[in-house]
Symmetry: C2
Subunit: 707 residues, 2 copies
């Protein structure tokens, strides 16, 4: 087994030789007793050092009265003592060169201010000693392959290649108990607890390198370091599928999350975006999590989305076909020569296309024949075998045939032996052979679709990032620090535009007229129609108070607009300082879009894109990405809005210049990545023109962080 | 038990006294043996008359060599003989006054032309004798309460109050086997087979009246008589929930459906619409079907959508909260005095809001206390009890407390005892007491939401239909028969408009100009701007060939438009007969919408509504209803499009006159209901103006049935 040195400490959690159980208890039902018993009954083959000041022997093991009494070094320490004893215990265990610690004990952050204080101390000690600490307030870890059950979960789970990281210990207990009946096998199980030191990112990284882990599952309620999370996820998802439930995804859920673990849940939009962007498969319920995991755990890779369905019943075949259509899985007919061969081998009433219906009286031999014939058709990327228990059917024998078939089949295989006790033994046989079985065919198709999508994702080139070098970072730095020093957090339009200009955005040329005469002089040199806007540092929303006039067609209009604008503003904002009226050429034609950014507490800069006007306001047709945005994602975020065809041109209109749009998104991404001080911004609207014509931002707003 | 005379024949299927098994077999494994054994082992307490010419005794029963040998009358006859013997057997069984027949035998429509011929004969005989026939090619029926298992399914299912109609026999076998393990109980189970005589509608109607059926489930692949189906469904869904899987819902699925049963699957849009319109709950997979059914089967009715969640674990509580938000279920905190009482009764670390987290060390007494305190809060409409197996937890004892609690609780109760063998006995206890348990809390919330939505639906007033009496039906009849007799199936715009006008639609006044001079004369009397359109019976899409000019502002424009239009048409459609150019005032302002109708093979007239232009073409933002449309549904179909706010007015615009729009939809519904000869029509666009101003259809197209 290859465990790189980089993860040596984390390895001690799963492959320790010497485990100390601090707070081992002789009393059955106590956590300190459960853990000891689990280690023993799990057949851990290293040394166990129970520590308890009042006992000499527990469960047949020699007990140490203190950590100091232990003479050898310790690889993994498990604490089940009250919080303050945990803190002092870290000093003792450090002396035993122990770098891996599990704190099962509750009574830290989750119970309030005093506990949070203790947790702070724990973090400090861990840092001081270079210790990795899992928990506190967790269930522990389980590693069936190395026979380590350092948890108070009930029983050693079945060994397998699925690893599971959970921020809820209780959910883990339920899932483990359930998994035994479902025949689901695990490689490594981690209960995160309060995540004082080690968090989901650490284990995601570790499991990404772990040769015994084929699929990574997780239940998380929050991510603190969003950008680090994304960086790690981006690496890991290329290597193996990561399927996560993010609970507290809705506002009601988030309320429950914050009262539960004190985690500040990131907004769901940011999570959804970050997951999609990094290739994490987001799951919404536990049943789906394992349905998909089962499909991945079989380690067979589909090259494409073409599935062939073999069934002994029409109805379930139709359910599979429906699910295929819904999940973009193709059920194409077999090749002509294969159909001919099937016709030879199957009864005349069989359906030879796809689903291939081998009829209700099919025995195992007919399943075998159909499978072997269909296997020759290399255009299929996966097999789904459906069985309903008819009077002739022996589900176990069919399962045997599926297992035999699987032994030299590299394409993924799915089974839906449907029913209860009539198919039970068959399902158990499939489970043992790592062939996923599903209660109903639609679940199998969903699992295949997840495989197809995942492997399509892994075949995509690595994301590429573009950095524009023509930006004037120094200038922006200056504007921002100058504004912040003056306590101006909502930048004036002029300042905001300067920042954007420094990053390569274009605005229509604008001239300030301080009088009607100046306005006429300026207008005379420009091309009508014109736009005129009030210029005032005190006014953020100019339109609302009649401070903007558009489509001004002649000099007469310029004079009228000047008077109206200044009158409106004086009346509605009598205290606003008026610098004058900005005059610019009006950009006609093209499409208006919005670009914006808001900073998410977990993931940072969340960039939004959408078509302007009702598309954003009424239809809420927008897309998001977390910056820094790779080039490919800039393209995807444009294509994924529903109104995308309007940009590409409908009814004979010209397409907008998409490259100009992608560039704007990437420059925006660079700006907000360079300057975390910017917490919100809008370019609204941006006028996109057809290829060859310049696109312009028409208005800009930037808000800086105020403390 | 009250079974009205109306359903007396159908009653014979479920409550027979004397059953004849024609084709009883002595050979184990044969269907004719299975059925006999199932009847005997199911403890049927009436008389069984096996018929087999070659045997004297089977499974201990006296065998008759022919139907004629039976001396008494027969209530229910089950045929398991080859097709042609079924046909002749009907004559014999008729003499025994038997009106209820199950034909298990295959070899009819599903095997091709010859079989279809036999099926025709079967239908004829049934009609002749006034017999109700189930099948052919079916699994039979099962009625646990009356101990009738007239099927070749494996075992008598658990007795309960869920009834299941299935068009797939094999799916039924799988579901029945599965249901035993899941503890799901049934009232009546019907395998429809080829639906030669009795179909899903007959049984839907029967089960609607059946006092032993609380929930009706169904798996169907097609509906032949859509309008009758909707009429029955509308009645039944008011009385009890109907949950249906419509398989073959997608184009891939539909392909499989037609090769399977020869059913012509209605388009999925029509099904989706018909289900929604009649209150049928559409389900997309078998697991969901039973998850929801379990919730309904408990017979407790929620008054509103407020759920309280009691849990011993935070994570699963969050999952429940997330699912609540997603399913529009409210988790409000308990009332102040209830919180105070909870605080008293629960440990200090408990979460008292909602989810109420009674902490991992909760035993059954704490569940009991929490439940009883929360019960006093009448603002909650339902209870969800979550349990994860912790070391202190005894799932069975908690289940006992839930059962006790349920005994005098009228609000629905849901449980999620999560896990495997640690919770198994508890779940069994809940099943026995008809309290639905779910593997994971999100499924329980989904089930509660289905209950809430269903009961909200039943509290709505019955749909009302409006018939406009000012329509000129005679005139439309005349135009249609005249056109059809002339072989003109695509009506001219003039004819189409006449039809719509006869049903109360308004079009802008239009005048035909045959020359430039006439055009100028006409235009002079109208208000500019104007619209001019080519008038030709040969041209359907006028815009496409430059036959329409809009926004004509003066007489000069009229002259130019006349010349351009006639030139364009002559050039692009040289063979078209030109009557002249229609001139009308242009309707400015307002919103353009589309109304249309297409006739679905199963359900008939499917009416479409949407906003004009890109909303239909790009965003596909449209809604459908099957005519005749009730008044309430006319309103709903307008409100359900995404761009609805645009009609109500955004950015200070005036709202359109909604009553005028509803009226148009209802008049359209009346027109297409009155005239089945109309197979397609479009009113595109319809100009909707603010209240007080008349709305106009601007263009009309009608296609009649051509054979």
């Amino acid at each position: 087994m290859d465990h790189s040195s980089r993860t040596a400490i984390t390895d001690s959690f799963f492959f320790p030789q010497r485990i100390a159980v601090i707070g081992a208890s002789a009393e059955a039902g106590k956590v300190g007793n459960d853990i000891l018993r689990n280690l023993i009954e799990g057949k851990f083959d290293g040394e166990i050092y129970p520590v308890n000041p009042k006992r000499d022997e527990i469960l047949g093991l020699n007990v140490y009265h203190s950590i100091g009494e232990i003479s050898s070094d310790i690889d993994l320490a498990v604490f089940i003592v009250p919080p303050r004893y945990v803190i002092s215990g870290l000093d003792d265990i450090a002396k035993k060169n122990c770098k891996a610690v599990i704190v099962i004990s509750a009574g830290f952050k989750e119970v309030g201010a005093e506990g949070a204080q203790l947790e702070q101390e724990l973090v400090k000690k861990a840092k001081q000693y270079g210790m990795k600490v899992l928990g506190p307030n967790c269930l522990g870890i389980i590693s069936p392959s190395s026979k380590v059950n350092a948890s108070f979960a009930a029983e050693m789970p079945i060994q397998g290649n699925i690893s599971f990281i959970s921020q809820s210990g209780a959910l883990l207990t339920a899932v483990l108990d359930w998994s035994m009946e479902e025949g689901i096998g695990f490689s490594k199980i981690i209960s995160l607890g309060n995540k004082a030191v080690l968090d989901e990112i650490d284990f995601l990284e570790y499991l990404g390198e772990d040769p015994d882990t084929e699929v990574i599952l997780g239940y998380i309620e929050g991510v603190e370091e969003g950008q680090r999370f994304m960086k790690v996820a981006q690496q890991v998802t290329r290597k193996k599928p990561v399927l996560l439930i993010k609970a507290g995804s809705t506002s009601a859920g988030a309320r429950a999350a914050s009262s539960h673990t004190g985690t500040l849940a990131g907004s769901d939009k940011a999570f959804a975006t970050a997951f999609k962007q990094t290739g994490i498969i987001r799951i919404h319920n536990v049943a789906d999590l394992f349905d998909l995991a089962k499909g991945f755990a079989q380690k067979r890779i589909p090259r494409g989305n073409k599935l062939v369905v073999i069934t002994n019943a029409g109805g379930p075949g139709i359910l599979a076909a429906d699910a295929s259509e819904k999940n973009k899985i193709q059920l194409q007919p077999p090749k002509t020569e294969i159909i001919a061969e099937l016709k030879e081998a199957l009864p005349p009433t069989a359906a030879l296309f796809n689903p291939v219906d081998i009829i209700g009286d099919a025995r195992e031999d007919r399943y075998k024949n159909a499978l072997n014939i269909l296997k020759k058709d290399r255009s299929f990327d996966g097999f789904l075998v459906i069985l309903t228990p008819q009077s002739m059917t022996d589900a176990y024998k069919v399962a045997e045939e599926i297992v035999k078939f699987s032994s030299n089949c590299k394409r993924p295989i799915f089974a839906a032996l449907m029913g209860g006790k009539l198919v039970r033994r068959g399902i158990e046989l499939l489970n043992k052979n790592n062939i996923p079985n599903f209660e109903f065919p639609d679940e199998a198709v969903k699992s295949f679709a997840a495989l197809v999508n995942y492997h399509k994702f892994t075949r995509k080139p690595q994301p590429t990032y573009r950095e524009y070098e023509d930006v004037d970072k120094e200038k922006v730095k200056e504007i921002i620090s100058d504004s912040m020093s003056k306590g101006m957090f909502n930048l004036s339009e002029v300042k905001a535009k300067e920042i954007f200009k420094a990053y390569g955005f274009d605005f229509p040329e604008s001239h300030l007229a301080r009088s009607i005469d100046e306005a006429v002089q300026i207008a005379d040199k420009l091309k009508f129609p014109l736009v005129m806007k009030i210029s005032s540092p005190d006014i953020l929303h100019k339109s609302d108070i009649g401070g903007v006039k558009v489509n001004i067609k002649n000099l007469e209009g310029v004079i009228r607009a000047f008077m109206e604008i200044t009158t409106n503003v004086k009346r509605k904002s009598p205290k606003a300082a008026i610098l004058g009226v900005d005059i610019q050429e009006m950009i006609t034609g093209g499409k208006e879009v919005i670009l914006g950014m808001t900073r998410d507490p977990s993931f940072g800069p969340l960039i939004m894109f959408g078509l302007g006007g009702i598309y954003v306001e009424v239809l809420k047709d927008v897309s998001f990405r977390v910056a820094p945005i790779p080039v490919e994602e800039a393209q995807n975020m444009v294509r994924e809005i529903n109104s995308y065809p309007l940009l590409a041109g409908v009814r004979g209109e010209k397409s907008i210049d998409f490259n100009a749009l992608y560039e704007m998104i990437l420059r925006l991404s660079q700006l907000v990545t360079d300057f975390p001080e910017i917490i919100e911004l809008d370019l609204n609207p941006v006028k996109l023109l057809p290829r060859g014509k310049k696109s312009y931002a028409l208005d800009a707003r930037i808000t800086l962080i105020s403390n």
